[in-house]
């Protein structure tokens, strides 16, 4: 069995990328992702990880270098956050469209301006349509486990798509947690070598990233969509196998005391752990409430989500990003879309909060729930409510 040690989550990411035996890392440092890249650079420089570390001049170049590396069949890792993720935005589409199995840790960060290095989900929401698989984590152990899974999922021949593993900036990147690291032999057994089926090879030339006129573009996009949706099966299988091998279990929609609860709170990412405390407190006071957390953002787990919320009367959602001028929170609007045609569905109340690193405490979640129940009973004129803004 693995070794349990207290370590900063960012450092742990470097260590697990080493365990995954990555071949190439191309990354540009940006707060709050910096320690991940620094530690990987150190591991390569010290000869502990036999990989190419490509120092680049921007995130646009980082992702571009990753394209080449993955196309050559190398196991490829990068990490970014906030403005950096936005700078590589156009290349993200290329990575998924060219079906290159790149793994990226995203240290979720708010977007400028005003300049904020702190965490929220603005960056994650801005890249939701780029065709990447997106996995959301709540603590350091989940990050480590899911980076191992991400390589296996991305490189699976039925998938061949890039994967982002999201962790909240500072709330996860900079905390020291006890984390169980698997043994090298266990990782080697779980994660077979990367064998990209059509790598760049002078003896077998291919053309990648071609020109696609109108006569072929729609076919390529539909093939991509079908593939991303179909990846869910491989993701589920991977998590199941991971559970068998390491006794830690993951699913696309996670629940906490939600069975039979009439009121459900919905969260995503590290705030879920605080929300659980709030749920414990409220249940202790006799309130009929549970928690639903989304683990898989893309491909969106429609069936699992419908199953998880259908018996509730009220669903109170918290988004950590605003969709300006739109429905308020991107996650809530997708939940609403997923339930629209269902005969039986809860009333949905949308909150946005926790922006730019602002904490939501246990009391805060309690306030959100109480206000949510009030809105569900009385109705509201607004698409959503902002939580915690001073009037």
């Amino acid at each position: 069995m693995g070794v349990r040690k207290g370590v900063e989550v960012s450092i742990a990411i470097g260590d697990v990328v080493k365990l995954a035996n990555a071949d190439v890392i191309a990354a540009y440092p940006i707060t709050p992702q910096t320690h991940i890249v620094e530690h990987l650079a150190e591991l390569v420089a010290d000869g502990e990880l036999d990989a190419e570390f490509i120092p680049v001049e921007s995130e646009h170049s980082a992702m571009s270098a990753c394209l080449g590396s993955a196309a050559a069949g190398a196991r490829t890792f990068t990490a970014s956050a906030g403005q950096g993720l936005e700078l590589m935005h156009e290349v993200l589409y290329v990575a998924s469209s060219m079906q290159l199995p790149i793994v990226m840790a995203v240290a979720n960060r708010a977007l400028s301006s005003p300049l904020s290095v702190w965490g929220d989900h603005s960056d994650m929401m801005a890249v939701r349509d780029t065709g990447w698989i997106q996995i959301v984590t709540e603590n350091g152990q989940e990050v480590i486990d899911n980076i191992i899974c991400a390589f296996r999922i991305a490189e699976d021949k039925q998938v061949l798509l890039p994967v982002m593993v999201h962790l909240d900036g500072f709330h996860l990147t900079h905390v020291i947690e006890p984390i169980i690291f698997p043994e090298q032999s266990e990782v080697d057994q779980f994660l077979p070598p990367n064998q990209y089926p059509l790598p760049l090879d002078p003896d077998r030339p291919v053309a990648m990233g071609d020109f696609g006129p109108p006569i072929i573009y729609s076919e390529t996009k539909w093939a991509q969509e079908v593939r991303l949706r179909a990846s869910k099966k491989v993701i589920l299988d991977c998590w199941q196998e991971f559970g068998k091998a390491f006794q830690r279990h993951y699913s696309p929609v996670e629940s906490y005391h939600s069975e039979g609860a009439k009121v459900l709170l919905f969260t995503m990412g590290s705030f879920s752990e605080t929300a659980m405390e709030a749920i414990d407190k409220m249940r202790g006071e006799g309130k009929d409430i549970g928690l639903i957390r989304l683990r898989l953002w893309r491909p969106f787990p429609f069936a699992e989500l419908r199953r998880a919320v259908r018996d509730a009367d009220v669903l109170i959602t918290l988004d950590r990003a605003i969709s300006f001028g739109g429905p308020g929170g991107a996650v809530c609007s997708e939940i609403k879309a997923a339930l629209y045609n269902e005969a039986k569905k809860p009333k949905i109340v949308s909150f946005v909060g926790g922006l730019g690193g602002r904490d939501i405490t246990v009391d805060g979640f309690e306030e959100i729930v109480n206000r949510g129940i009030e809105i569900a009973e009385k109705g509201s004129q607004n698409e959503f409510e902002i939580f915690g803004v001073r009037e």
């Binding site: 469209s97 060219m98 079906q99 290159l100 061949l160 089926p197 059509l198 030339p205 291919v206 053309a207 990648m208 990233g209 071609d210 020109f211 696609g212 006129p213 006569i215 072929i216 729609s218 076919e219 390529t220 539909w222 093939a223 079908v226």
Partner: protein, 97 residues
């Protein structure tokens, strides 16, 4: 190549839309972009090949009599050949005329 681009279904798309056969770009018909086409008075042609050298599309080929002529499957009708031709062999005419 078994199928042309117009016959490929989404199931036929290779991973990442990778092209595994070389040369399939030659199927791309750029001639449909054309609003003017070159016409030729070969009685003035000295077979110097300037039109071929200047053609940005690389679509000018020598015919069996040795005269240089644009392949209209690819010719975009830019008119550079007509402008560069020293002996005024080439005249651009509107498509449809």
């Amino acid at each position: 190549m078994a199928k042309t681009e117009g016959e490929l279904t989404w199931q036929d798309i290779e991973i990442g839309a990778i092209a595994t056969e070389p040369g399939n770009a030659s199927q791309y018909q750029t001639g449909t972009w054309r609003s003017q086409r070159p016409t030729y008075d070969f009685t003035r042609c000295i077979k110097c090949g300037m039109c071929q050298l200047f053609c940005p599309e690389g679509c000018v080929e020598q015919n069996e009599d040795g005269y240089f002529e644009a392949n209209l499957y690819y010719c975009k009708g830019c008119g550079i050949c007509a402008r560069e031709c020293w002996t005024r062999v080439i005249t651009m005419v509107e498509e449809g005329e």
